[in-house]
């Protein structure tokens, strides 16, 4: 039974991810006074791509053609660790939050290799930039997560969320800092404005798009899907760690349904914030991203210190 719910949760994750992307696009269009496409447009795009014949460069090796599957699987595995609608599922015990970061690293490793595989300047540029940004983002992210895990004294996400739920609504300065740090990291890691612009193909600025420039057909669909999944995953992390209320603790249909509704509401709200931020802020130069990320690291560090100085029970 538990395993069934776990599989259901992963399926929901995978299925809902394009919807979130569509919703963000919709909000952004409204904010910019444009006519919005339907929220289901990403599904249509993915379907269209899977039906097309993929064109692969003659130079490509197996790394290029297998990488999309590896990236997609690694992202799905990362999603399986994160509680979406219910806590205490068996999948969340199989790996903790550090392993989740490891899955992201796995996906990124192959994405960067795929970028280098064709031997064009764009691919190399994308890989180099992606690895730079991610290596700066990783310590900031772990710093934010360590604050949380030290409060709950576990690195298992499910137990950590239960801990926050049991504590009730307590205003912790460390959580405020950690939330801010994690948000900045999430923006950098999912390639949103101001770090990267998912909607542009301008060679001077692109990062993620430069690596996947050569992809087409089902390969492109998988990579797009994986990045939508990653965006949703970060959203769920922020929503469920810092505002876990509403998540199902028992496995009956009512609680699960309620959990699903609540998380969709939370994500929709987060998406609105993201759209507003992306509309207001301009993209920054590549070599200012380090300042952005070191600020995130600093926030994480402050969160950690305030946990140690103010909150730790001695």
């Amino acid at each position: 039974m538990n395993w069934l719910i776990a599989i259901l949760q992963i399926t929901l994750f995978v299925v809902l991810a394009p919807l979130l992307a569509g919703w963000i696009k919709c909000c952004k269009c409204r904010l910019q006074n444009r006519k919005a496409p339907s929220v289901f447009q990403p599904y249509r795009d993915l379907l269209k791509l899977t039906c097309k014949q993929p064109v692969v460069s003659e130079q490509a090796s197996w790394v290029f053609t297998k990488a999309p599957y590896i990236i997609f699987s690694a992202t799905v595995l990362a999603a399986s660790v994160v509680p979406l609608i219910a806590v205490d599922l068996p999948t969340s015990a199989s790996a903790d939050v550090i392993v989740m970061v490891g899955f992201f690293a796995f996906a990124r490793f192959f994405l960067a290799l795929a970028g280098l595989d064709i031997g064009t300047a764009f691919g190399g540029m994308g890989s180099s930039r992606e690895m730079t940004i991610s290596s700066l983002a990783e310590p900031a992210m772990l710093m934010a997560i360590f604050t949380l895990t030290m409060t709950a004294s576990t690195t298992n996400l499910s137990f950590a969320i239960t801990h926050v739920l049991n504590e009730g609504l307590v205003l912790r300065p460390s959580f405020v800092f950690a939330l801010a740090a994690l948000t900045l990291v999430a923006i950098a890691e999912t390639g949103r404005i101001p770090v990267d612009n998912p909607a542009t193909h301008l060679e001077l600025t692109m990062i993620h798009e430069a690596m996947i420039l050569e992809y087409s057909g089902r390969h492109l669909a998988l990579i797009e899907w994986a990045s939508q999944l990653k965006l949703m995953l970060y959203g769920v992390l922020i929503a469920n760690i810092f505002f876990p209320w509403g998540i199902a603790e028992t496995f009956n249909l009512q609680a699960l349904g309620y959990g699903l509704l609540v998380i969709m509401g939370k994500l929709a709200l987060l998406a609105v914030f993201l759209a507003i931020a992306e509309t207001l802020v301009a993209k920054m130069r590549l070599f200012r991203v380090q300042e952005f990320l070191s600020f995130a690291y600093l926030l994480g560090l402050l969160g950690m210190l305030s946990h140690i100085i103010l909150e730790a029970v001695r």
């Binding site: 899977t50 064109v55 699987s73 595995l77 790996a95 690293a105 490793f109």
Partner: protein, 708 residues
Amino acid sequence: MILVLAYSAVLLSFFSGLLGLMMNQRLYILKFSQYWFKKIPKDSERYQSLIAPCLEEKHFPFLLRKAVFVLLGLSGVFAILAGLSVLIGKEVVTDQLSLGLPWLPWHVRFDCLSGFFFLIIGIAVSSVSLYGPGYVNSYDESQHPFAILGLFTGLFVAGMLLVLLADDAFFFMIAWELMSVASYFLVAFQHENAANRSAAFIYLLMAEVGALAIILGFGVLAGFSDGFTFDALRKADLSTTWASIAFMWALLGFGMKAGIVPVHVWLPEAHPVAPSHISALMSGVMLKVALYGLIRFCFDLLGDVHWQWGVVLLILGTVSALGGILYAMMQTNLKRLLAYSSVENIGIIFMVLGLSMIFMANGHPQLAALGLLAVLFHAFNHALFKNLLFLGAGIIHHQTHQLNIDMMGGLIKKMPKTSMLFLIGCMSISSLPLFNGFVSEWLAFQTALQVDVLDNGVLRSLIPVAAAALALTAALAAACFVKVFGLIFLGLPRSHHCEKAHEIQDKGMLAGSSLLAGLCFLFGIFPSLIINLLNSVAGQLLGETLPNDAALSWLWLAPVSINHASYSPPLVLIGALIAGCVSFWYLRRSPSTVIRRAETWDCGFGGLTHRMQYSSSAFTMPFRRIFAKVWIIDEQIDKDMQGAMDQDVAAVHYHLRIQDHSWPRLYHPIERGVNNVAKLVGRIQTGNIRVYLGYSFVTLIIMLWMVS
């Protein structure tokens, strides 16, 4: 029984070295065998028909090389058996050999800690001896005689094994020196190149300074005890100050061998110039022997560790880890890059060892055991994947005749098997899940996160920062090895040699690497195979194993308790396979979507060449800009101008030189100081015989005065 296994491992490696010496003695062996055949006429014809073909000039060198490596491999197998049997039996075996000084015979002690390092050496030596015969075939016998290589390889391995067996300071130092000096000759093997000679000299110099420091460390201990056996040293009663002084000497000595910043400079010089299978042994195993020395010295001989030592190790380790990987990233010579990456891994190991000491000193032996487990497991993993990468680098060098990664590319199609093995090494060293490197880093993070139990507020905020530095190191390592694999194996070939390269034909070389790659994967999926063995090491050394709640089954890995953190690599593997297969089969369902091959998109200009790809310096440019202060960067762009007004650029030359800060900051001042002192001493050396006679006379007078 266990000791017999251990001794046979040592003796076999000795014999393999001695057998190597026979390389040039073919005629003597021929004469000897003929003489012997005459002595025993019975069956002689049959033996002769067996042995005589072996001694022919054509076959003899080939067979002898094989035999040397077979003996070496057997020594490795015996080392593995000895290590495993002592780890499983959890025994401590002692013995005395009637060698050495008259009043101090060689004491031998074989316990779980030694056994574990025996296991590491055994695995590395076995894989190297599979790899070796194919690799050394490419050497020209007249220029690089195999006798030297074989002899010193055998002595080197024997020295390392003896260090682990030693139970008194005297024997320890003899074995240590055997290891250092033998490896010096291996570094200097290709001595026709001046750079190699100077690298070997730096190596010898630093090895000897390190050995002096270790002797001083033992000396401090021996000053407070009544003998040189480790048993006597264990009983020594030291004040905190003297214990700290002894620790500092040991740290300097063993740290020099292990290659922590700032005494790492010999490592990137010496490792690239040795033959690849020797660099694999040096980087993968010899550094671990230094780690063994430090662990033995601190946890076993000194006994009560102080948390301040832990902090020193933590800081040095963090600096080494970050510095090592940042320097590694900037290298273009593959073996040099791998050597710097060893500095990084040793840094990680020292960092976690520091954590373990801090927990031990603060009265949390179970957490100290967890830290020690992470240390030893990472040492084991590093031996596996670094060996694998060095052997891979050897294969690449063998096939393309170069080590500059800016001149490679596209090898994945030419060398599919090597590329697969190298990819596994890269993934392990980048600590990606499902591979062994990840598990030890995960354990390191788990140790760091237990910091809440400490009372000291400074430590509690320092350790998470170190953990974040560990995260940065891991991410940078991933970037570095994406660069390595991407530039060597992917893209278009950047040189003629790479275009013409083909897969290695020698089965042994592939088998040696495959063995290591297989173990990397195996221990990534079933880490508890090793961790259970390590638990007994911690039990013997610290008197404490992992907490009782810890679950260490083949399926689960929960080092503290299941509520704290758990990781199940087999489940993750199954999940990954399911997700991968489902997406793969689902998307393959329609026959109209078969992959179509086409030209690479060139923006409509046409003519993409290999020069348009990202190079090593281009790939690392963002890092160079962000961490600019870490290196001494010398970057020049020269433009050749032409045309009427000198305004058209005809050619652009780009020079980039990256230097290590430790040379101008630390070593050049020392070098100048030594030179100045030498000059002062030189003043009294006038070269005039009368002055020298005067010196002798004055010395004589002073001595007489002292005696009377």
